[in-house]
């Protein structure tokens, strides 16, 4: 399915990407993350299991087993540090 994927803060800088549109073969957030890790390099490094990042689908933070929907906006970002 088609997804809009956004990256923020340190991840945006490290991955060299603020936003992309891609086709995801799987149906969950974990599937998307696996697909991104498979790109290798900084993608494999930054999204490795155990690294601290958060995922929001359509602006709600979700767990890795959350389902994706066609045209969802998926945001991947470091733990937040506002306030």
């Amino acid at each position: 399915m088609k997804l809009r994927v956004l990256y923020f803060a340190r991840l945006r800088e490290r991955l060299g990407c603020a936003e992309e549109t891609l086709d995801c073969a799987g149906s969950t957030v974990a599937d998307l993350v696996a697909q991104l890790q498979a790109r290798g390099g900084v993608w494999a490094e930054e999204l490795a299991t155990g690294r601290a990042y958060r995922v929001a689908v359509n602006q709600d933070i979700v767990a890795l087993d959350a389902a994706l929907t066609e045209n969802a906006a998926v945001a991947i970002f470091p733990p937040v540090t506002g306030g």
Binding site: A52, A56, D60, P78, P79, V80, T81, G82
Partner: protein, 151 residues
């Protein structure tokens, strides 16, 4: 309820006056202002930039305030968070909670700040003598948020 994400400065006095204007049922207003410090994790900080996720930020802040309103009886809440470039001494965030009694106002104000620190999509980048760096999330903020229990 007033929730704003803005680059402009805010005025605590004006915001609290707006909360209480024309009302005589408010007994307590607890408020909090978070400011940019000149020092963090042992380094001088010359400036910082606050990045956020437009759209999700407003939604996350509204959810925090609604959660506070479901936990305590509140009369009104104002929450303002700045984004963009800030200098040491600049106010970053304002929370003001009006209630009938002080216990609820204090609890809700601190709850909103604790949850904001772990749930609202803001990221700080600091300018230090060693270069720019992203602020790391603090374990102490996770601890502060967990003491309020599950949502």
């Amino acid at each position: 309820m007033k929730i704003l994400v803005q680059s402009e400065a805010f005025e605590l006095g004006a915001e609290v006056d707006a909360l209480r204007r024309g009302r005589t049922d408010i007994g307590a207003i607890a408020s909090f202002v978070g400011l940019a410090r000149d020092m963090n994790d042992g380094s001088d900080v010359a400036a910082m930039t606050l990045e956020h996720y437009p759209g999700m930020t407003e939604k996350a802040l509204a959810a925090l305030v609604e959660e506070a309103q479901s936990r305590w009886t509140l009369l009104d809440v104002t929450l303002i968070h700045r984004v963009g470039r800030l200098l040491p001494g600049d106010p970053i965030v304002l929370v003001a909670v009006a209630g009938s009694h002080r216990g609820e106002a204090f609890a809700a104000c601190e709850f909103i700040m604790d949850y904001l620190k772990t749930r609202a999509p803001f990221w700080k980048k600091e300018v230090t003598p060693e270069g720019e760096r992203w602020v790391e999330a603090r374990a102490s903020d996770d601890v502060a948020a967990t003491r309020w229990g599950k949502t």
